[in-house]
């Protein structure tokens, strides 16, 4: 690694000089970069404020958000969002309020304060800039307020929750997920909303979350099979993983859409949305398996021996000793896969499912909004970038939390 410039004891001007103009070549590069960057940014700003017509986003925001979900049933989605916000606030607060035994608790660390500001800003500015009705703007503000309120309350009173109840808290999310499925699709007294009417961000998040949740355990099983001593399990896993890794995702989606009908008796085939969801799951599982495999390889053999010699049977030894360590090592690569999965949902637009990109296409095909490609694509790009970057930050925060050896002066 090159020796970095001397740290910031010097004044700003000196530092700038060292970093940008250390040599004549550097100086030239800096000048070129600065002028072109400034020109690009100014050009972008000029276009964004003068020439771009953002009405296309504002007028179609519902379409982008939930596709053609029937208006009379949209209250179910609002309920779901409220529940999700409540659960998120609760979880976040508990995470801060129940610290690990060897570390001091930090109620409102710097990152949290930043997040607080960002959320408040988004809640107020977002719906406003989308020119949503005042009622809906108010709803967003209230939902965000609920999230932050629960975050504060949980952080404050987390210690009062008896230990026995604390163990049941992680169940909150799976239950919520199932509840969410019912709210979206119907059942339990709610009218059925067929999957063909799900679209936009709703469909994207649904497909991504389904695939992420299921590919993780599948990937772990595959990784264990890959390292197994039993030849059938090992070669079976290898075949599966290498087959998936050699195929472009679009080919597998094509397979799922067109051939699944042939593989099942009669006309019995799951809906297109679920076919795609399963293909995404099985696809990602192979890549997660590779990440987990390198995690497993990083766990010393003595760990398993120690666990077995204490009398732990194989499954318990795996669950309590080997996998926790392996998954910590595999965490960055695994979350990377999840981010890729979220991005891969855009391929659903190529097989005719109404994900975010497909909806964008239909919006742009509307004669009223012809030629608005740039505005729409840029908005989508910003949206995806924020989601993926947030996932990346979350992964790094999780890594730090799980690290059993915090630095002494943290």
């Amino acid at each position: 690694m090159p020796l970095p410039p001397v740290p910031s004891r010097r004044s700003l001007a000196r530092r700038l000089q060292a970093e940008l103009f250390a040599s004549p070549l550097d100086g030239l590069i800096s000048i070129v970069l600065i002028t072109s960057s400034v020109a690009a940014v100014l050009g972008l700003l000029h276009w964004a404020t003068r020439q771009a017509r953002w009405a296309v986003i504002q007028a179609n925001s519902t379409l982008f958000a939930i596709g053609r979900y029937p208006e009379s049933q949209q209250w179910r989605l609002w309920l779901l969002i409220t529940l999700l916000a409540a659960a998120a606030g609760l979880s976040w607060g508990l995470l801060r309020g129940l610290p690990q035994p060897d570390r001091p608790a930090q109620r409102w660390p710097q990152n949290d304060r930043l997040a607080l500001l960002l959320l408040s800003a988004m809640a107020v500015l977002g719906p406003f800039s989308l020119k949503l009705s005042v009622a809906i703007q108010l709803r967003w503000v209230l939902i965000t307020a609920l999230l932050l309120l629960l975050r504060w309350a949980a952080g404050r009173w987390a210690q009062r929750i008896p230990g026995r109840w604390q163990r049941w808290l992680p169940l909150l999310w799976p239950v919520l997920y199932l509840l969410g499925m019912v709210l979206i699709s119907g059942g339990l007294g709610l009218i059925q909303v067929p999957s063909s009417e799900w679209g936009g961000l709703l469909l994207t998040l649904l497909e991504a979350s389904f695939a992420i949740l299921l590919c993780f355990p599948l990937g772990i099983l595959l990784a264990l099979g890959r390292r197994s001593d039993l030849p059938l399990l090992r070669w079976g896993s290898v075949l599966y993983i290498e087959f998936i890794r050699g195929a472009p995702l679009i080919t597998l989606l094509f397979l799922g859409q067109n051939i699944l009908g042939f593989l099942l008796p009669g006309g019995l085939a799951p809906e297109r949305v679920w076919r795609a969801a399963w293909v995404l799951t099985l696809f990602a599982a192979a890549y997660v398996a590779e990440a987990v495999r390198s995690g497993l390889a990083a766990v010393p053999r003595g760990q398993m021996e120690a666990a077995r010699s204490l009398g732990l049977p194989l499954p318990l030894a795996l669950i309590h000793v080997v996998l926790p360590q392996a998954l910590r090592v595999a965490l960055p690569a695994t979350v990377g896969q999840f981010i890729t999965l979220l991005q891969d949902t855009t391929l659903l637009s190529l097989i005719g499912l109404s994900d975010l990109l497909f909806v964008a296409g239909t919006v742009m095909a509307n004669p009223q909004y012809l030629g608005h490609n740039a505005e729409v694509y840029l908005t989508l790009a910003v949206l995806f970038w924020c989601c993926c970057a947030a996932l990346g930050l979350g992964s790094r925060a999780l890594e730090r939390r799980l690290d059993p050896n915090p630095l002494p002066s943290s």
Binding site: P101, A306, L310, V321
Partner: protein, 257 residues
């Protein structure tokens, strides 16, 4: 000061804790690691196994808790015959504790959790009760204040003492030690050997593979020499170190003296 309060556990019908006869082991590549190895260990005995590297002493030790299997011979541990029966093997592992050269503590669990994991999951005991016992054990090996730390924050000697306490928490009948001090810096070897000495004084049945001659002289009831996969000589320490009968023993002793 005793470590293990259950000093006077009534002897079962078997005073013989380990009985190994004619153990032969071949690795898949054809190399024979154990050639007719034999050993008898009675309750309360401390047996030290010594020998040159590659002599199979660790391999032999690890057959006692089924970490290594063998093709020929018979082995009875704690009255149970070692066979292909998984239930037998699990039962044997519950009664036989092992302390490894590399400690093998679970780095993602705190020291206390390292100790309580197995008793809670395997013996089905109540966590609160086990935690109390674990804290007492940690006190007795001299590191009671480290209970909530993580293994990565402890020194080598402290980690090995935690490993010993972890095995003790399962209340085993026999403790196996596989070169417990070989990976430690010299100044920490003594603290671990002292713990082992106290355990022996409490009447724990121990089989120790080690190079520590002083420990063997002071604590062992019998010292065994292994070479090329065979048990060549067995004798009380006075005779073993001053007047061994086997030529190989004399050769080995001259190398380590």
């Amino acid at each position: 000061m005793s470590i293990d309060p259950r000093l006077s556990k009534p002897a079962g019908d078997e005073a013989v804790m380990i009985e190994a006869r004619g153990i032969n082991k071949w690795y898949p590549n054809g190399y024979q690691a154990l050639r007719g190895a034999e050993l008898t260990v009675r309750r309360g005995e401390v047996v030290v196994i010594m020998g040159p590297s590659g002599s199979g002493k660790s391999t032999f030790l690890r057959t006692f808790n089924a970490l290594e299997d063998f093709q020929e011979g018979s082995l009875k541990v704690g009255g149970l015959t070692l066979s292909n029966d998984l239930r037998q093997i699990d039962a044997i592992r519950r009664e036989v504790g092992m302390v490894f050269q590399q400690f093998n503590l679970f780095p993602h669990l705190s020291v206390l959790e390292n100790l309580t994991l197995a008793p809670v999951l395997v013996r089905g005991r109540q966590r609160a009760q086990v935690e109390e016992q674990a804290r007492r054990l940690l006190e007795r090996v001299g590191i009671g204040e480290q209970a909530d730390k993580y293994p990565g924050q402890l020194s080598g000697g402290q980690q090995q003492r935690v490993a010993i306490a972890r095995s003790l928490c399962m209340e085993p009948e026999i403790l196996l030690f596989d070169e417990p001090t070989s990976a430690l810096d010299p100044e920490m070897v003594r603290e671990v050997l002292e713990v082992m000495q106290t355990l022996a004084a409490d009447g724990m049945t121990m089989v120790v593979v080690t190079h520590e001659v002083r420990f063997a002289r002071q604590v062992a009831d019998r010292v065994v020499l292994m070479a090329e996969g065979q048990v060549l000589e067995e004798a009380p320490p006075e005779r073993f170190f001053t007047n061994p009968s086997h030529e190989r023993t004399r050769q080995f002793l001259s190398q380590i003296a």
